[in-house]
Structure formats: C-alpha cells, structure tokens
Symmetry: D4
Subunit: 253 residues, 8 copies
C-alpha cells in the first residue's frame, strides 16, 4: 500500500536481509487486528491521521467494549458515535476515562492531547432547536479532531433577518456546516451569503411531508446555491469528518 | 340545491300552478348540458361566480372545441388551460376570438368585460427564469378572473438580498403567490417576511433529486414559516383560483 | 428591515443625535433574545400580529419551559403545539396558568385577552371521528388567534347526504378548513359546493395504501375542485394560521 | 385437470381400450397449441367461458397476427387490447373482419354471435372527459363478453349534484364500474349511494401529485365506502372481466 | 334521496296535509343521529341492508362505546373491527353481550338473528399461517353478514400441488376471497383455476422487499389472471363486504 | 406429480389390483398433513432433499410448537428461523432437544445426523460487525444443510486492503455469500475478484439514505460486477438455501 | 494480485535478475490497456474465463467500435449488449464479422470456437410473449458462454397447468433461469417444483402497478419458495453470467 | 450587506455629503440588473469571485442569449451549462466567441484570462465510460474556474485493481471528485484510500434498480468511508463549484 514501505521490503530482500517468504508475508501483512467480529485497523490512523471511530448502532455493548479496548490499548483516542445511554453506561463500567455526551449520543476516551487542526473555526449553523442533537454530534466530533467551532443556532429561513444579523460570524470561519430539518432551506441561504465551503446535513426533524429527513436531503441536493455538498440524514459525524478532510489537506490547495 | 329555488318550486306546487310530476322534474333538473363526453355546468358560474374552465390535457382538439362552443354559446368567457400550440391552432380555426398565450399554455375567449376583483393586486413571485411558464399560467388566469398582478421574478433564496430589495412590493399587495422549483425554499422566505396569505406553487423545474417537483412540494408543505398553503406541482391555475376564492369572499372576513 | 425605523435612525444620525457606530449597531440590532438553544423573536409579534408559538416535538421539557418563560415574561400569550401529556405536566409544574388540551395536544398560557379576528366563523369539517385530534389542534389554534369556529364533523364522502344536509352552515362561514384522512376526498366535495376559500388538511388516519396520510395529501393536491390549497399531513395548526393570514389581511381584498 | 375427463381416461384403461403409455400421455396432453413465442390455450374458453384475449402491448404486429390467426382458426371471437393504430392497421391487412376502436385501443374479430350475459346492464361511470379511453376499453370488452352498458360520464365529485341527478340509473343496473383519475374520489361517492358491487378503475389522468394514477389507486383502496374493489391503473379490460366473473356465476349467489 | 319518499312529501303538500316549511324540513331531514364526534346513520342499514360497522382504530374506547351504544339502542347488530384486546375489554365492561374474537380483532354484539345470505359459501384461501388474522377478520365479518365460509388455508404457490389438491372446494363455492402476503401470487394461481369472482387481499406479512404489503398489493393488481379485483392491505373486512355486495345483488345478474 | 408413481398407480389399475375410484383418490392424495392453520408437507423433504423450515415471524408460539411437533414426529430435523428469545423459550419448554442461537435468531432440533453437502466450504463475507446477525443466520442454516463455512468478516470496501489481504480464502471455497448493509458495495468488489458464484444479501443496517436496506439491495442489483445474484433484505436463510440448491445439483453442471 | 506472479518477481529480484525499480514497476503494472475513455482489461478473460463484454447503453457508436476493436485485436470473442439497431449498423460498418440479434439487442464477434460449458442445458422459462426480448438476451449470452439452452416459454402462473405440463423439461436441465414481468410469480411456482438453482429475472413488462418491473422484482425477492436469487430488471445478460459462474465452478461443489 | 460599504454611506451622510433619501436609496440599491425574466447579479462575482453561470435547461434560446449578452457586456466570462446542441448553435449565431463542448453540454465565452486557482490539480475519477458526460461537465467547469484536472477514468470497483494501480495519482492532487452511476461504490473505495476531500457525484447511468441515479446517490450518502460529501445526480457543475469553494478559502484552513 505504502510505496516507501514496499520499497523498504524489496531493498531488504535485495540486500539478502529478508528471504522471499518473509517478503511475501510482509507484503500481505497489514497492521490490523482481527477480533473475530471486527477488524481494528491501526493503520488507518496513520493513513488518514484520525482516531479510530466506533459506529455503535447495531453493535452490542460487549462488541463496543471489545473494539474500544483494542483501540485504547495502543494509546489512541476513541470516539464512539450513535451510542445510547444504556450502552454508554456499560462502556463506562468496563473501561476507564469514558465520557458520555448525552445530546450528541457520543462517548469518548481521551488519552492523548488532541492536536489542533485548522487556522479558523468551523461555523456550525442549525435551523431549529430540534436539530441540536445532530449539530452537537458534529461539534463533539470536530472537537475530538482538533477543530474549533462557532455555533450559529436557531436561524431558520422563515426568519431570515436572524441569519443576516449574524452573518459576520462567517467572516472569521473556514467552513460552514449547516444542519437543518423540515424543508432544509438554510444551506441555500447560507450558500448564497458566503464563498467558503458549505457542508449541509439534513435532519429527520419534522413530520408528514418532511419524510424523516428526505425532504431536507432532496432540498439540499437541489439547492440553487452552487457548490453545496451534502451528507446523509442526521450524519453530524460525517460532516465533521468531511471538514477535517479539507483542513488536513490545506497545504495542497 | 338552492333553498330559495326549492321553496319557490314548493310554493308553486302548493299554489296549484305546478303539478307533482313537474315539481319532481324541476327538483331533479339542474342547469347542465350533457355533450356525451362532457357535462357543461352553466350553473357553476352562478354558484362560484367564475368563467367555465377547460382543462385541455388528455382531451382531443375536437372535444375542446365542442365544450368551448357550448360555453361560448351562452356568452360567457372561456379559459382553456394546458393547451399546446397544435390544439390551440385547431381551436382558433374552429372558433372566433380565441387568443393563445404560448408561455402560459392558455387559450381564452373574451366576449364580455371582466369584472375587476380585489382592491390590491396579487404579488406573483418566482424563483427562477425556468419557473416562468407556471407563473404566467397563474398570471393569465388571474387576469381572466379580474385580479391585478405585480410580478417579482428571479428572486431565489440563494440570493436572498434580491428578495429583500424588493420586499416593499408586498406592502401594496393582498396575497402572495410564490412559484418555485428545485428546492422550493422561496415560500419559506416570503412567509417569514409578510403576514398576508401565501399560496405556494411547486414547479417541476430541476433534475435528479428535484424529483420532478416533489422536492419543492414537500419543502413547501414542511415550511418552517407558519400558515403557508400549497397547490399541486405546476398548478399556476389552481393558485390563481385559490386567490380568487379569497378575494370573492372579502365581505365575510 | 422596517423602512420607517431605518429612516428614523438615519435622521438621528444626520441630526447629530446618533454617531456612526451607534447607527451601525442599531441597524444590526434586531429585537430578539438568544437563549443559546433558541432565539425568541419578540419582533415577530409586531411583524405578523400573532402570539409566539412553540413547536414542542423534538424539544425537551426543559427547552420548552425555557422558551415559554422567555415569551411569557413579556406578557404575550403562548401556544405550545405537539406537546404530549408528560411534557405538558412538566410545563404546568414549572409555569403558571398553563392549560392542557389533551386531544389537540396543545398547551396554552393566556395572560392577555384575545382580540377577535374575522366577521364570520371558520367552518371546520372533518371526515371521521379519527380525524378529530387534527381538527381540534386547528380549533384550539383558531381560538387562540381570536377566530370563531363552526364544527361540521363526521361527514365523509361515502355518506355524501350527511354533508349536503349540513351545507347551510357554509353560508354563514368565511373559510372552510377541511380535515380528512384515508382517501381524503372531502375537500373535493366541499370545494364543489362552496365558493369561499377551502384549506385542506390531510391526516395520517388509515392503514396500508393510506400511506400515513400521503394518499389523502396527494388526493387533495389533485382535487378536481379548483382553488383548494393544502397543508402538511396532520398540520391542523398550519391550517389555522393560514386562515388567520387571510382574515388579518381583509382590508386589502 | 378435469375430473370427468380423468375418470374417462382411467375407465378406458380399466376397460382395456387404452394402454398405460397412452393414458399417461393423455393425462399430460392439455389442449393448447404452442406457437414458439406463445401458447394458445383453447382450453381456457372451455374453463372460463370467454373469448381468448391478446394483450398487445410489448408484442410485435407479427406476433399479434400469429396468435390472432391461431385463435380465429377455431372459430372463436378475438379481442385484442392495448393495440395502437399502426399495429391495428397491420392486423387489418393480414386478417379478415378486424374492427378497430381507436379511443378504446381495441381490435376485435367477431365470427360468432355474442351470447348475452346478465339480466341488467353494468353502470359505467367516469369522472371526467379525459378518463373516457379507459372507460371505453371497459365498454368494448363488456360488449364482447355479452354485457350491456349504461354510461354515466363526467360526474366528478367536485360537482356532486351531477352524480346525484343521475343516481336513478343505478337502480336499473347490476354492477357499477367507476373510472376516475386525479384524486379518484368518485368510487367513494358511488359506493356510499348504492349497494350493488362497485369495481373501481384508477386512470393515469392528472399531473404532479396525481402520480400517473397511483394517487387515484391509493384513494380507491382506502375508500371510506365499504366493499369497493379495485383494478390496476387504466385497466378497463380487467374491470369488464371482473364484472363478467360475477355475472357468469349468478346461479351460485 | 328516495324518489318515492319525495313524491310522498310532495303529494302531501299538494293535498294540503303538509305546509311548505314542513315539506322543506322533511326534504332536509335525514334519519341520522349526531353524537358530536360521530354521526350514526340508521338510514344506512335501510339503504345497504347491513349492520352498522365501527372501525375502531384511532378511536378511544369511550368513543367506541358511545357509538356502539347508540347503534345497539335500535336493536341492530354491531360489528367493531380493528379493536385491540384492551379496548375490547373496556367495551365488554360497558355494554352487554359483547363477544371478542382475538385473532380477527373483532368485537360483536348480536341481538337479532343473522339472515343467511347467498346460496353457496365463499371460498376463503390464504397463503400462509401468518396471513390468518386477516383471513379471520374476513371470516368473522362474513359470518355477521350471514355468509357461509369454506376455508382453504396454507396453500401458497411455492407448493402449487397443495392448491391443486384442494381445487374441488371451489366447485361448491360462489366467490373466492384470496388472502396472501409476501409475493402475493396466490390470487393469480386461483384466478387461473376458477371462473367465479376472485377478491384478493394483500397482507403486510413479510419483510424487506415485501414492503409491508405493497409488493403483494402491486402483484395482485398486475396479475396475469384476468378480472381479479383487489382490496387495501390487511383489509379482510372490505373483502367480506365486497362479497356481500355481490350476493345481495344476485337478482340483478 | 411423480411420473413413476403415476405409472405405478395406472399399472395397478390396469392389472385390476386397484379400482377407478381408488386410483382417482390416489392421484389426488398427496402426502401432506393439515393442521388447520398450516399444512405440513412431508413430501417436500423428498422432492427437495432438505429439512422442513418454519418461518416463525408472525406465527404464535403455539403455532410454531404445533408445526415443529408434527415435523419432528417423523424424525426429521427442524429449522425455525426468525424466532425471538421469548418464543424460542416457549418452544424449548414444549419440545425436546431444541437449541437456540440468539444472534442468528434460529432454533433447531437435530434428531438425525446431517449429511455433508459440497466438496469445499462456502465463503461467508460480511462488511461490518452490525451485519453479523444476518451472516450468522446464513451460517447456521448452512450448517443444518450440511455445508461448511469459512467466515471473512468486517471487510467493507472503505478498507479494500482488508479484503485483498484475505482473498486467498476464496481460492478454497465453492461459493461466496456476501452480506452487507449501508451502501452494499462489497459484493461488487468480491465479484470482481472471484469467478465462483456470488450470492449477495443486503442488510437493513444503516440510517437515513440507507433506507432500511433498500439502498444496499439496489446497489447489489446494479453491480458493475457481472453475474451477481441477490436475496431479499436480511435474508441470510435464503442465501444459504440458494447455495444448497447449487451444491445439490453438482452432478448436472 | 496473483501470488505466483508476485513470487516470481520477488525471486527474480533476489536472484539479481531484476532491480528494485523494475520490481516495483512490475508490481504496479497490470495488463490493461487504457483507451482514454475506457480501460480494456485483457486480464479479466484470464481471471474469469469469459469474453470481454461491452455494455453499450450510454456509449456512442464510436466508443463501442473503439473498445470492440481493441478486444478483437487480441483474438477474443466480443459480446456487445444493449445495443440498438442504429449503433449496431455502425459497428457492422466499421468492423468485420459482426452479427446482430435484434430481439436480444446483442451484437457479437466470433473469432474463435466457443468452448462448451456445462453437462446439461439451462432451462430458460418466460411468463409471456412480451418477456421474450429479455429471455433472448439471456439465451444469446449463454450461447456465447458455451452453455446450452432449453426454452419453456409462455407459461405464466395464471395457467399453471401449462407449466406443470412441461415440468419434465426441468429434469434434464442444470439451472432454471425464470424471466417474468407483471406480477413476477413464475419463479415462485418453478422454485416450488424443482430443487436445482433458480435465477429470477424481472422484466419491465406491464403498466400501472407493475411499476416498470419493480413489482416483479419485489415479488421475486419475497418469494415463498426458498433459495431463489434475483437479478436486476431486464438483466438477461446478468442471469446468463450468474449461470456461467455456477457451471465454471462445478469441480468445487 | 457589506459593512464597510454601509459605514461609508453612513459617514457620507454624517459628513453632509449625502442626504437621507440618497442614503436610503443607496442602502437599498444593490448592483443587479433586472431583465424582466431574470436578474443578473453583477455583485455575485464580487461576493464569490466566480463567473456568472447560466443554467440553460428550461430556458429558451432567447432567454439564454439575453442573459449571456448582459453578463458579457461587463467583460466577464460566461459559463452556460446544460445547453443542448440546438440552443448552443443559436447562442453562437447571436453572440461572439462562444465555444461549445458537446459531451459536457457546456458553452463558454472567454473574454478575460482565467486566474489559476489551487496549487495541485483536482483528481477526477469516473467509474465507467457512460459516466463521462458528467465528468466532463465537471472538468470544463473546473477549467473555467482556473482549476487543473487529472483524469482517472474507467476504474469501477468491480475491477478494484485498476483503481489501486493508479492510486499514486491521488498523491499529487488536492481534492478527489468521484463520478459514478449504477451502484455508485467508487467513492467508498476512493474514500478509504485517500485522506483528501472526496466529493461524490452520482450519475443517472444504469437501468432498473439503478433508479435513474438514486441508487448511486443513496449509496454515496451511506458510504462506510467517513467524510464523503455528495452532489445532486449528474451535477458535475456543482462538484466543480464545491471544489472551487474549498480552493478559494485555502488561507483560512
């Protein structure tokens, strides 16, 4: 995978310090750990520069604990998303230094200092109070990734003057993450105001024709503001990660 | 149907000027004209105070001509909606005084003066140039119903300053009809700015996740601006008619 | 936002009674109160002439109480919609003068007299007993907005004689709000009978092909009765608000 | 399949007039004719008492001609449905006595007298002029099946008085077939008026939320009038056939 | 509504035994009873010859009891459908002679003998054990309507020999009601075997692509067996009612 | 059904050792057992060479016990799928030798040795830990059918190196069953690597646009890797059975 | 990718006959040919033992010709699917030995003898004449892959006796490919009759609720016959390829 | 809108060099030009630093020409997207220096040099030849925005070795734009390989379950690779614009 590493192996072989079978094994042997029910990829942290994340929905508390323990063993920080209060309590009983953020449904283990990422903070907008859990999932993930956050909450388009009143905040931010349910029109309004990247997150807030977030999702995808990109419904974590991809690649832009 | 008319029939019967069979027939005999393929309801004009309308989609040119001739025979004005250029030409060949409005896909026969309806004009907003055919269907229908129109075109939410710059127009209008495709967010923005009735019309403009207008429709139904009501996709005619229902009932409000 | 207010600020500046920084601040400073998780817009009451409404679904009891307290502090009436019995009890414990309407799922705080709105009452039709919660949400909202209501309940189209027997009620009403689930055909029947505005509200009543209200919604949008407008599924509040928009603008029609 | 026939074969075998191999073959040998691309089932006419029908959509003119010729060869009447004008002309060129009914998109070959079926005619209602092609497909199929028809056209629920004015027609009919597009509410209204069987046929008439007939379909399935049954969208043929199933089984009811 | 009744009223008026106001009132005064939340239509029993039915889903136990009491007061039988065990117990506490059929989710009050309807029984097929609750809802409704039932259960198309083995049952039945979930193919197979009416009922049995019954519904609507008609998902009651419409109209066929 | 058996019956008849009525009965009399609510088909084991399976969802514990007892009575093994812990406990109380596999939601009765099926094991891949219940349903079903399994778990396409690292496993397997939720891309990747049959199983893992498994399902159906076939969502049982169909027919390939 | 090849490269390196840079390049250098708009993978024929296939939909005639020429250059056979008559003619003009199969919409170049694959033929069933183009796409693909075919056409479930009459054919076949549109029930019936693998292909034949093939697709996925697997709508090619995957792996079963 | 500009106006007013009415007008007077059917926003170029774009679908050739002429008048470059060959020819006739890129369906007017944007090029991947029109729309838009492009075409996941062979390209790129139809799995594979931003664009390539691009869209939204963001179906333009938003904001990261 890593050309330098392959070159290294090949050079050892050429130099006679490795034989063919070992070289073959080394080429195949990637640094992951097989737990039976999950393969922990210690290599990913190296490849992408981020902590290992455990998506907890659909996993038992036992599975979450097993994976978290394996990650934590190497000294990395751990981020457990979509974890409900009952499972979080079980994890806190089993492992040390686990903090639970109820609204964001995130549990974390911080064992090493978080390296700051990005010069300016991310602007985190949300349309209504009911969208806050998704926004906070994004905020907590950004924090674990070392990214600063400026919150601009409860600024739905039906009161567009609220958004305009706070537009100065965008001037000191690097990226806008915009979280909205119901008709999901806020990213269009933000996208028309600013020229920084806009990452839109639809939420499942609303009823009837809100279609559990699909109306907001479709609205964001068809936005008349150009260059907006969209994450899955309620995926505050994904938006944070997308922002981190941008910030980590700054030297290429 | 009409209590006074029924009372009149009954009183004639009591007075002996009508016999039972005639009374029975009169009670049954509503003023409509059966063409075989369509029943022209001359009574509706009386009931609802509007010209008869022919929804032309799915009807042959011959059927449209037949119905229009029957209506025109009584001196009423005729409004033919959703009529393409080919059928319109056939109607113009067959009947007199037929005007065709290509963008609005409407043909009209005006034989009597149109009675003005409403003190102030209707504000007709549309989000983009591609929404104009639907907006113009609404405008031409309003004209035939005697209602004045103020156009506010190309004011999508991605450039919310455009809308704000023209918001003074709403101060001199009675009702806002807001036509928008793609993400359909304009009615939310308008609904947050004004307190007059807002009638939203989604259009089938856009591609992919625009879902032929269903995204805009769902967006409008879930608007965070309270009290917005919605018409079918591309139904500029229906919005005009809904506005006329309001204006005609002014003395009850 | 308000041209007169802006003119006032500018004239103060010209007159020397304000300096540039104050003028700039005044232009930015809109009258809303930021609670962190919600922005209470005291200005909206001025702009739209209605009490502040709290959509309670997806908000915690604590958040509802916080917002309601901030609104109530200014002496306004408060309308909390979509609030279940448990949260309502919490609000009643925390605040004074809170009344709960279980069927309508609405809690209210009335501190000032409600100004009557509209000359004639709104006719509130519903197709079946199961549609009553939505109809009552509409009724209670109308009451808080000062609008009178005439109920015409349980008049589905499968027994069209029931509707016809009560059609005289429409003669003394200003607007028809028609609530229906299942096939949602009642607005078409009402729309054919009356010339006043018809606001249709689909409900999620029914099973299978009723599609949780989407069949009724689509039925109403495609009604063959002209000029019917539609609200979101189960949105009795929205229909009431739409009626109020009409009644408040009566002097423009 | 046919117990009497099997008994006959078995008795021949017992009597020695057939040997085992012939009996085995006879049991397998059903009276159908394999054309390679289609199997013409002469047996069905015996089993169900109806002419063979060719659903022409998706078949080439050559295939239609081949199947029709094979059926006609045995002296039966032939009913070709969903056949457009071009293919119909090709069939008329190739075979004799072919009549084409353009609105119904049906071609027929009548070689033997049609046996009348049913004491009273079927009431065939349709909501609007645009629904007529589907209604006429039903009418022409009923005619080929020997069933009389009474048409009640253009009686949509938005003008419910039209339907009521003609309700006497139902008193002299056996079954109501109700064809409607857009919101598809007519079967509910008819179903509430009459106690005879109601067979509903949604049509693809309408636009936007009419969803190419699915709104009408769902509306009919969720009708609040009890005991209505529904056919596929635009399936006038199927409704006629369902009516024939009822009429042919009269002696069992 | 009833021409003879209207004629009677008119003749009384002509004869002077009624005055105009009374005649007018009589014409308006239909025999239904308004409970506020429901209108009990004693007239329907006369019009359609069936007991009043209470669809219990979405109604409170109190509402069900109120409506049932009003119906029972006149000596009619009562059929309560879609009633869960808790509500049924409440009804049994409040009213006399209430029986509950748990699998069918039906409660009944029988106060008068049920008049037999139909010469031959209805064949009630179902594809799998999981479809039985819907089939039993149909069976119990048929029983209350006086119709006999022959059950043919667990005969899905994947074991088509099971169905063929029992096909003789159809020879002594008048109508086939076919209940099936998952792929819903049973009505096609039955429809190909028999020439009597086939009423298909999709059930919500199955998972994933079974789409809560919509796959079975669509399958039945598109059946290649001609003349099958379809009810809403899980609507065993509706199928029974549709069968009763046929049986009651036997003298017209 | 079985030609040899029919020939036997016919020969008995010819030989006079059977009379016509008995022959007729024998032809009709298939070896299944009617429990009223279910027909146990002992013949299927003969026809398809597999144990009888009880799909337990939607069946009561009593029904499951009744069917299982009838199967077990003949000495066959029993496989109960989709059975939750509560019902499984009831079955364990009522019958002997019942084992419950909680993750796979399968209960089994093994009374006779399982005959091994297939030379090489099936490769069972799954994309993530949350997909394991479906994969284990497949594994346990394969075990009961006598098929060996090699597990390749937690190899989603976002870490394609994990899959590549383990691709040697496929070299010693006969069939690949690939279980994946979310975007369901794993079968495409596997299908491009191997030339053995690939059976894809979408799971309902994921949220929002994962659409409860329909996104994975559609993804697999549209795979750019040729010749992949797909089972219903979460249908691990079906995939196992499809593999068994292949393995049992090996002598025909 | 290929362990032997990697070992070879490593051994050359160890032996000094290759240097590090060449070894590194060799490890990267896979045998495909980049045409700019398409990468022709000569390696796939080796890996999967099949001719290269060109999916022609969405490609210009020029692109098809370019890819076909590149493949043909190496002497392989070429299979062009989903190619309409106009593009096929262009390909025939540009390249030699191109044959076009209009119904199957397939063009082929045969330059080398096709190696027979499989002991027994594949049974290819289709429900109706309109499904034949998809069945023939499958048949022609199977022919190019060296697989024999037995056709069983026009055997829909509404005439289940047709299928039963021909069931002996399955006894001499290895795999059943079942093609069906409309309600798509044929695979269930076949799956219940046979124990060989059943590959189901839904077609887009039908109208209204047939949903362009999605009803048949969902029907097949939810089949009550166990172990049926399904291809994309109209994907006759895919079914053939899936059959070939089975036949080619025979020595592993 | 622009605080500095507002401050300037206010200071002029304070200084007496502007009067109140002029200041009020200046505050309202934004630099856009109203053509009646479109409002050209010269201000946007200033706000967002990009050329004005004309989305041509749904606009007449006359409207496109009118808008393009107004933009071109100010010396800016013009980008016309979604323009078919016929309209493009009309634009070329009417205006000077118009170039048409047929595959990308883009017309451009370049009057001023394009300023380079970004240090490293954007990697533009596409899964198959049929996805090229969308990829080229993206490429041409990037070119007009000054961004360099590296193409990685025809690297679908079914041949994952093709992608791996070219992964070195990503090392020298800033952002990955990944275009894919059918199952849309390519972004997941790329997202797992690289840590730079990944912008995914689903295309409408494929048939049946490809759902005109919605399967690819949903697949991308649910990707198991973290931090991928998604554009509307076929929206190559939007992806380019999103990339430009990132590159232009580089100094903030």
């Amino acid at each position: 995978m890593d050309p330098d590493k392959i070159r290294g192996i090949l050079e050892s072989l050429q130099a006679g310090s490795t034989d063919v079978d070992d070289a073959l094994a080394a080429l195949r042997n990637l640094p992951f750990q097989d737990l039976g029910y999950a393969v922990v990829d210690h290599h990913r942290a190296l490849r992408q520069g981020v902590p290992e994340v455990i998506f907890s929905e659909g996993k038992s508390a036992e599975q979450i604990i097993g994976i978290a323990r394996e990650i934590a063993r190497t000294g990395q920080n751990v981020l457990m998303t979509r974890i409900d209060a009952v499972k979080a309590a079980a994890v806190q009983d089993a492992l040390e230094n686990v903090r639970y953020h109820a609204m964001a449904r995130i549990a974390t283990i911080e064992q090493r200092p978080i390296t700051p990422l990005g010069k300016q903070p991310v602007a985190l907008c949300c349309a209504g109070t009911s969208d806050m859990p998704v926004a906070e999932e994004c905020a907590e993930t950004l924090r674990m990734l070392g990214v600063g956050v400026e919150r601009i909450y409860d600024v739905g388009v039906a009161g567009v003057h609220r958004l305009l009143a706070r537009r100065g905040v965008f001037d000191r931010c690097s990226i806008a993450v915009v979280v909205a349910g119901m008709e999901g029109a806020l990213p269009s309004a933000v996208g028309g105001l600013v020229s920084i990247p806009v990452i839109a997150v639809p939420t499942s807030v609303g009823y009837g024709a809100a279609l559990k977030g699909f109306t907001a999702l479709a609205c964001m995808l068809t936005s008349c503001a150009s260059g907006i990109t969209v994450c899955n419904i309620d995926n505050g974590f994904g938006a944070a990660f997308a922002a981190a991809r941008i910030l980590k690649s700054a030297d290429r832009f």
